[in-house]
Amino acid sequence: MAARNALLGFLERFDRRWIFLAMGLAIVLPLLYPLGLPADPSPMVKAVFYAIDDLPAGSTVLVSVDVDPASRPELEPFFHAAVRHLKKKGCKLVFLTLWYQAPPLVEHWIKDDVESASFPGDRPYRSGEDYVWLGFREGKAVVIAGIGQDLAATFNGQDAAGTPFAELPVLRGFARLADFPLIVLVSAGAPGAKEYVQLVQSRYNLKIVAASTAVSLTDLTPYYQSGQLLGLAGGMVDTAEYEILVARFLGLDPKEGVGAKALDVLNIGHLVVIFAIVLGNVIYFAGRRR
């Protein structure tokens, strides 16, 4: 009985900084010592993969990259994987963003993956011919409604570097959202995938796949169920699963991806949170009983 009371006393005085330490170790250790548990892509993630894979070779795809540095770990692996997937299909790419925090990030990523060869057999894309970066336009939902009607009017008829649309071969025949066979959304929040679905998807019967942060996933699953999103990858887990599918498609090692490595962190991190919940409840009920 005394031992039990001592244990309960210890639990009641338990310093939450131990939880912080446990979480810190849960993040760092799996990166140093990977578990390598196999990931099985979910149907939603497979739907993203097949929506892109079913595109005719050489299609022109619009990619809206609505992210900030905070959402980078969750969404950057998806961006890289999607761009590689699209490049392997020979697709031309039109990038834009609705987030003012995004342009420097997107420009880095374009340099890394679009303007450079990013997998064996890949080639660097040329600005204006193979891809175009339209940049940021303020207006949030208004911009989405605007590009639904007229891409040139919304972006003042020029890309981020100031090149007129008329001098961009990649945009020939693509005046509005409905002209694109597929729209890929890398969406960290609002404005993003939800606004695209609400404002333009049904109106113009657009084909859209989206990647979102984990907290937005439950907001967006109804749109996936209703078919308004053809595929949905929510959070780091789904991003990693998509990255694994693309790595297999490209003949690369699936375990080498950033998302795949992050899966181990999530595995242990989730266990730490569950342990914290259980421990907190043990202390709570023990205190009530006493």
């Binding site: 979910s42 540095p69 420097p104 336009r137 207006g139 907001d219 919940i277 907190g280």
Partner: protein, 297 residues
């Protein structure tokens, strides 16, 4: 008049936005497109108002040395620095020197390229970029070639140009590379990469520690509702990661079921309710019944 005119504008713009949805005529779409442009301009103007508001709120606190005034100084200096770095100062300077192209007969068909900076990278004929260093010279086949020169770091000018090398001639390119200002410029991207980005990511990363702490301190099964929430949370947290499948094969399926059925049912109800509320509020604004957005006077 002060009230009636804004109400009339609101009524006309709102009614048109609704009617436009059902009228596919080209002229209607053109007008709608123009209205959306107006809205974009207004949204951009809101940034200016936001900037003025930041000054109005923070400057008096600094001047009167109110609590935490030091943080306001950092805020104002940070905003001013980003604003200054975001202006394209280079466009005010003289036009950049063009790429110098010279051709001389050497008997060997070759291409020689150099840049005004030693850290430039070169790509010829869409091959991967390689360091250019003090210069690059290679024999090439006569005919058309694509040349691209860039600096690895963002914020510098880059060129990509087609050139034609004639047989027996050596074509020499001297590429001027200059630092840019503005949102894609060196200073702005440096501050973004080394200050804003890490700070923003750090704030978000701290959430993992707060969540763990909150889970320990606040997530209690005090009653049946809380116990159900807690159980669902644990199942989803386990079912969403591979370790859940390693623990029990049925966990991912149960997790998906919770997200797909009860969660989506609740989400749909909330979304439909919110949508109906938005329609009702919009109609009240368009019809002038809701006037709070016009202010008190």
């Amino acid at each position: 008049m002060k009230k009636q005119l804004p109400l009339l504008i609101g009524f006309l713009a709102g009614s048109f936005a609704i009617a436009e949805f059902y009228i596919p005529a080209g002229i209607v779409r053109d007008i709608q497109s123009k209205l959306l442009e107006f809205a974009s301009v207004l949204a951009a103007a809101a940034f200016v108002l936001g900037g003025i508001n930041v000054i109005q709120v923070n400057l008096p606190i600094i001047l009167h040395r109110r609590p935490d005034w030091q943080y306001k100084v950092v805020l104002m200096l940070g905003a001013a620095a980003m604003l200054l770095a975001g202006i394209e100062w280079h466009s005010l300077a003289a036009a950049p020197a063009p790429t110098q192209v010279t051709e001389r007969p050497t008997g060997t068909t070759a291409l020689a390229i150099s840049a005004s900076r030693d850290d430039a990278e070169l790509s010829v004929d869409n091959k991967p970029f390689v360091p250019l260093g003090s210069g690059w010279r290679e024999p090439v086949a006569p005919g058309a070639h694509n040349v691209a020169v860039r600096i690895p770091q963002p914020g510098y000018s880059a060129i990509a140009m087609p050139i034609t090398v004639r047989a027996g001639m050596e074509l020499t390119l001297r590429v001027p590379v200059r630092m840019l200002w503005g949102p894609s410029g060196r200073v702005y991207t440096w501050m973004y990469d080394h200050v804003f980005g890490p700070c923003n990511a750090t704030m978000f990363a701290l959430l993992s520690f707060f969540i763990a702490s909150a889970a320990f301190r606040a997530f209690r099964a005090r009653n049946l509702d809380a116990a159900l929430l807690l159980g669902a949370a644990i199942i989803i947290m386990l079912g969403r990661v591979p370790i859940g499948r390693a623990i029990a094969g049925w966990l991912p399926a149960l997790s998906d079921w919770i997200i797909d059925i009860p969660n989506n049912a609740g989400r749909r109800a909330i979304m439909m309710g919110a949508a109906i509320g938005a329609v009702a509020t919009s109609l009240r604004v368009i019809l002038g019944l809701e006037r709070s957005h016009l202010g008190r006077d």
